[in-house]
């Protein structure tokens, strides 16, 4: 009887091996380029799979695309692997993380010939270790059925007519929430908390994540939500719906740039550079559509739906050293004000 139980136990423990054995047959050959990226880039409907397939067909270089978790975990994972790096290329480190990324000193610079086609404002790392490939601008999205004259500045959002009409996102738990916090700091400087104090009556709720915040908005809970200028594009492409529009502000919108880099430790520098170049040229359209963000290459021809995303009058950025230094203070001060 005991034997049987042990056999059963072994069978159950080994079952997953048998079930998933298929996956192991793809061995990683030594000529393969290993690329780390974040979760939604690598996922089936992210831009990753298409780009990799086309790149492999064009160049004959095999690519092993690996997800290293959420956006912020990417850099962390690389730092953990510092002494035993596996990746050749990393895709998805933002301008806000530049300071931290420099600290680890993991990447080599690459003066890509494609950079001439990229708006120099987006080349956020002058040492050219992190090359930009994708840019998004935070914006308020509104429901055009309920609001015909959308606010055009942070100041106008404070108008009492928007009482309990705005959905915000918590900067403690979401990067979009952090984006708005930085936006107010970049506009108001040290007085940013006054804006937050004043916006309180107009806030319906502060959601934990972009997903739940934007979900409340599309369910019609409130006519205004913090998101991206490009958000309406999704509804136009996939739902044939132009009810949701985004608005750019007079003082500018905070922007976030995603970058890619080649690791210092890479032994396939040439192939890695080819991959980055591909990302910055032919891959741009795939990234723009799948990520619903703007490409950085000015030559990219975008589909018509992108006309629904207004271009920011001015892109605002906070220096990454400032973010690294003050992030905790800002969050503490913000929590103090918003929880009163």
């Amino acid at each position: 009887m005991k034997k049987h139980t042990i056999l059963l136990f072994l069978a159950v423990v080994l079952l997953p091996f048998a079930l998933f054995a298929k996956g192991s047959s793809e061995s990683v050959d030594t000529n393969t380029l290993t690329v780390y990226s974040y979760d939604s880039f690598v996922s089936e409907w992210g831009p990753g799979p298409t780009i990799v397939k086309d790149f492999e067909e064009e160049t004959g270089i095999k690519v092993n695309l690996i997800s290293a978790g959420h956006g912020s975990e990417l850099l962390y994972k690389l730092s953990l692997e510092q002494n035993n790096p596996r990746a050749d290329v990393v895709v998805g480190i933002t301008n806000e993380q530049l300071n931290e990324s420099n600290k680890f000193n993991l990447f080599q610079s690459y003066d890509s010939p494609v950079l001439k086609d990229i708006d120099s404002e987006h080349i956020f790392d002058k040492s050219l270790t992190l090359l930009p490939y994708n840019v998004g601008t935070y914006a308020f999205v509104y429901d055009s059925k309920k609001i015909s004259n959308p606010p055009t500045s942070l100041e106008q959002l404070l108008d009492p007519k928007y009482k309990r009409s705005i959905i915000l996102i918590d900067p403690r738990t979401s990067s979009v929430g952090m984006g708005l916090l930085q936006w107010t700091i970049s506009v108001y400087g040290d007085d940013y908390l006054q804006w937050w104090e004043a916006i309180k009556p107009n806030v319906l709720t502060i959601a934990d994540s972009w997903s739940s915040g934007y979900g409340l908005f599309t369910q019609g809970e409130a006519p205004l939500v913090i998101s991206y200028t490009t958000s309406p594009i999704y509804h136009v492409i996939n739902e044939d719906n132009d009810q949701f529009r985004s608005v750019v502000f007079d003082e500018g919108n905070l922007a976030v740039i995603e970058g890619a880099a080649i690791l210092k430790s890479s032994k396939k520098v040439e192939q890695a550079q080819m991959f980055i170049d591909y990302l910055l040229t032919d891959g741009q359209l795939d990234i723009a559509i799948a990520n619903v963000m703007y490409p950085v290459n000015l030559k990219t021809e975008l589909p018509e739906a992108f006309d629904w995303a207004p271009v920011a009058k001015k892109e605002l950025y906070l220096p990454s050293e400032m973010i690294a230094e003050h992030r905790d203070t800002w969050l503490n001060e913000w929590t103090e004000v918003m929880s009163r």
Binding site: F20, G69, D170, R172, T173, Q219, E221
Partner: protein
């Protein structure tokens, strides 16, 4: 009783059988829970120069903000618990005492909220109770109003409502199943002695119901204690900050692992106290049930008076409205579509067609839903089988252990319930990135993580039942020549059948809906139902997520309905 117990357990304790078979469970818990926890929590004590320090913990304990968060966490959990139990009590009364149509259905359906991912519950609440929700739309049409009159969401009330929705079924299940077993003879005796119905309830029934009520309440308290998404989204924001939010913020946004670890330390300490109280209440229940078992069971009555019938009907209606409302709202949402041009909501199958690849979309979700469902079912099945075996072995060991040592082991086994999912996730993350797992490795790790997560739930359903199995049965079996293993297999296990079915169903459903650990451990090729839902929501497709959520709801409903059937047959 006492001597037979000792005699029986002596044989059991000295048998290597249980020791051998409980070892894997303990090893897995060590590997998947304790090791990551130690790695993470040790950061709380390591200073910036790598030296040992207590200063972080002390600073945190001295901070006024910490205590404000802790106080609020306790307060909201307490109110949520009281409300959940109060809602459950009348239901427990009618389920335990009366026979009526739809009873089984209530029992089966009421478990579903518990296993749903919280983001789906939030979605359901918003669609149902929201400012533009179904109730408000209906009221607006009926009374020709400009805007919805119900403004419950984004207040503290909404938090309590959502917590009650999530948790009152737990109280309903626990209290009613105990109440069903209360012997009626005591009541008769009291009435013979001249007691009125009211005072019989107060003096005879109620005191014996206190252990299960306490037990349910502690469990609910535990769940509300670590609530996070519901508090923020439905409560309206940072006014309602729980410890979980604070841990999340430190770990994810500030990348302050040390701070997160220090805060988790306090949180784990407090939750362990609650778990210990819970284990104590469960033993009270088991002890009480042991006494009750000797007596005849309470027989269900059919309803006689018209008021009774109305009462039962009202409660059934209320429960259906309360539980099915938000669930139904998700399903409703998955079948509707509002193109902006006409503005009319129309019935549609397009989300399902897209999901199952019958209709193509620009965002390529090719066949993802189907493969996600299959993979989820496989993972849930393996998780259920493995964890059922481990947990049964573990509870066999716990039952046989002398009382002194077993509290520690039991606490240890319930530990996964006490640890914040953010912290578990971080721990796994640290380990996974060091291990350099391949495809297979990460899948096995996902299953093992699910085993760790679901095990306390199975343990909670098996252990009390196992404790009730009298050692005299085992002893009789030894006398007849069976060894320990054979006795376990042929005598003890069959007695536990009903508990195994319940535990297995919970394990299956929880594994089906699990997202936090899966997301951390899985590479991008591993797609389960909740992961696809999460991705759909992340890529703006809320209707698609509602469609897949509906599939999850239906799957859970089937599981719990089958469970009820299987239990009926095994009785």
């Amino acid at each position: 009783m006492r001597t037979t117990r000792k005699g029986g357990s002596y044989v059991l304790e000295s048998s290597p059988f249980f020791k051998i078979l409980s070892t894997p469970a303990i090893a897995i818990l060590l590997l998947l829970l304790v090791v990551p926890l130690i790695i993470i929590l040790s950061k709380a004590f390591i200073g910036s120069e790598g030296s040992l320090t207590l200063s972080r913990v002390i600073t945190l304990l001295k901070s006024e903000y910490t205590w404000r968060v802790v106080r609020f966490t306790f307060l909201q959990a307490f109110i949520s618990t009281v409300v959940s139990v109060l809602i459950a009590l009348p239901g427990a009364y009618i389920i335990a005492n009366y026979r009526f149509k739809g009873k089984r259905l209530i029992k089966a359906i009421s478990v579903i909220p518990f296993v749903l991912p919280s983001i789906l519950v939030v979605l359901g609440f918003v669609i149902f109770y929201g400012n533009s929700g179904l109730i408000n739309q209906l009221l607006m049409k009926l009374f020709n109003l400009e805007e919805g009159p119900i403004k419950i969401l984004y207040t503290f009330g909404a938090v309590i409502l959502a917590h009650a929705f999530y948790n009152f079924p737990i109280a309903l299940g626990l209290i009613s199943s105990f109440w069903e077993q209360l012997p009626i003879s005591y009541n008769h005796a009291a009435m013979t002695l001249g007691a009125k119905k009211g005072s019989v309830f107060r003096t005879v029934t109620l005191p014996r119901l206190i252990p299960p009520i306490l037990s349910a309440a502690t469990l609910i308290f535990l769940f509300c204690f670590s609530s996070f998404v519901i508090l923020l989204v439905l409560g309206g924001g940072p006014k309602f900050t729980t410890m979980e939010v604070e841990i999340y913020r430190r770990a994810r946004m500030s990348l302050d692992l040390e701070g997160a670890a220090t805060f988790s330390l306090i949180s784990i300490f407090l939750t362990l106290i609650i778990v210990a109280i819970y284990i104590w209440t469960q033993r009270l229940v088991a002890h009480q049930e042991e006494i009750e078992l000797l007596n005849e069971k309470n027989l269900e009555k059919s309803l006689k008076t018209i008021w009774g019938k109305i009462g039962v009907a009202l409660y059934t209606l209320f429960a259906a409205f309360f539980v099915l409302g938000p669930l139904g709202a998700i399903i409703y949402n998955s079948f509707t579509y509002t193109p902006s041009r006409s503005g009319q909501t129309v019935f549609t199958l397009r989300w399902y067609k897209q999901l199952f690849n019958i209709e193509s979309t620009s965002s390529s979700m090719m066949g993802v839903a189907l493969s996600a469902i299959i993979l989820s079912l496989i993972i849930a099945s393996v998780t259920t089988i493995v964890s059922l075996i481990f947990t049964t072995m573990l509870s066999a060991k716990l039952r046989n252990d002398k009382i002194k040592g077993s509290l520690a082991t039991e606490l240890f086994a319930m530990l996964p319930m006490a640890v914040s999912s953010v912290i578990i996730g971080l721990g796994y993350y640290l380990i996974a990135s060091r291990l350099q797992l391949g495809n297979i490795g990460s899948r096995i790790l996902v299953i093992l993580a699910h085993v760790v997560i679901v095990s306390p739930f199975i343990l909670r359903s098996i252990l009390p039942e196992y404790r009730k199995v009298s050692f005299t049965y085992s002893q009789a079996s030894f006398t007849l020549g069976a060894n320990v293993a054979r006795t376990f297999w042929l005598v003890e296990l069959p007695l536990l059948r009903s508990a195994l079915i319940t535990g297995g169903a919970f394990a299956f459903a929880i594994s089906l809906g699990e997202i936090n650990a899966t997301l951390v451990l899985a590479d991008s090729s591993l797609v389960t139902i909740p992961i696809v839902m999460y991705r759909l929501i992340g890529s703006y497709n809320f209707a698609g997520a509602a469609a897949l959520g509906s599939v999850l709801i239906v799957l859970c409903a089937i599981i719990f309905f089958l469970t009820e059937l299987a239990k009926k047959r095994s009785n």
